[in-house]
Point group: C2
Chain length 145, copies 2
């Protein structure tokens, strides 16, 4: 039981290149697996771990953040709670942004205007964006001047 996977098999099952898996290991994202005559042998659970890394990476976290995220859990300290909370907030912002983007693009598709920027609905979507993100200074600028 618990058949071990070679790096090639892990790559096939996850869709992640072997070179990338070695790179992730170098970065400390994946634990160094057992070796059989020099070759890596992964436990089946590695598939899940790789999945988590992919998920977090695809969702906009850097590999260092993913590392911190995974590694944070072991110590007895509460540091990880803070980290998880921050990530959760980031993720909520990301989802909200993606939904604004979705609205904007969907409207772009539906709107007959040649120049999308002439369209008030489109502008409205962007205005929603302006309210959040790093454009808060803009908000103050507009109201103070």
């Amino acid at each position: 039981m618990a058949e071990q996977l070679t790096i090639g098999e892990l790559a096939r099952r996850t869709g992640v290149a072997t070179s990338a898996l070695r790179y992730w290991e170098d970065l400390g994202l994946l634990p160094a697996p057992a070796r059989v005559s020099g070759q890596r042998r992964y436990p089946p659970s590695a598939v899940r771990l790789v999945g988590v890394v992919m998920l977090l990476r695809d969702v906009g976290f850097t590999l260092r953040e993913v590392k911190a995220f995974i590694a944070a859990r072991s110590p007895a300290g509460d540091g990880w709670r803070e980290l998880y909370q921050r990530k959760l907030t980031e993720l909520d912002q990301r989802i909200a942004q993606a939904q604004v983007a979705r609205t904007v693009i969907a409207h772009g598709l539906a709107c007959p205007h040649r120049d999308i920027f002439e369209c008030s609905n489109f502008a409205g979507g962007v205005a929603a964006l302006l309210a959040g993100s790093s454009l808060e200074e803009a908000h103050e600028e507009i109201h103070s001047h």
Copy 2:
């Protein structure tokens, strides 16, 4: 009226560095603005345009994709419809993934397990991920073997 912005003002209002704005212009993302004795003068609408670029960039599109997205609208052709439709689909996938990630992280926060991977709920979230994305081969592997 229609007071023109210097690159510095545009940077302040958008939160994007002047160097990045020039880079975006080089890439063809932003149209070359008017010049007053060599210096760029942007129309106020540039703030909105920069906002759109930021939005799409932050949501995971490359700058080339953003360029295509913005530029696609001008020609009389229908090529842009296809592009918008594809982007919309990509975006829906991204949102779905982000929501899975959110669930996973939220659970990680709520779950008392020391090792998150021991938790079946966590595994369930990841399993949801495995069903989509590039892990479809894995799905076939699992069922064929």
